[in-house]
Amino acid sequence: MFFGKVIGTIWATRKEESLHSFKLQFVQPLDAKQKPVGSPIVAVDTVGAGPGEIVFYITAREAVIPLPVEMAPVDASIVGIVDRIDLQKA
């Protein structure tokens, strides 16, 4: 799982059948200190996160598990909205 910040939304009418009911959000991956790292990705939002919120998301085939369909070509899904992060000094 990875941290990310929701920075926007994608609108696409022409898409794979199985994706029709899903919201596609733009997520900027963050490190543990909430600094941007790497380039933004697109993830299916299963928890209704809003723009600016810190979320955590899962990638690869596991990203299909929270979705209400058997098969879907999805490699990233937001699965939680972060309330607080307690980071011990490493």
Binding site: I7, G8, S18, F26, P40, I41, V42, D75, A76
Partner: protein, 91 residues
Amino acid sequence: MFLGKVVGTVWATRKDEELVGMKLQIVKHIDLDYKLKDTFVVAVDSVQAGVGDVVLVTSGSSARQTALTKNRPVDAIIIAVVDKLDIVVKT
């Protein structure tokens, strides 16, 4: 998934027979201002995207999660043609 732009098509007659009938498009990564990056992938097109279309590509084994690509040697698939990007938060 990542954001890309279709920049071309791959035609190959001699190929793995599991790939017969699949359209192979060349998709370059783009940044949030649509500027082309230098990395690209060859992706199976399942939504009839045209050259110049901004698209979404799924990578890895999730790319085999469609009726078209199930159990086939495919690790990248175009899953949507993007109509609009709403970037709300500047990073």
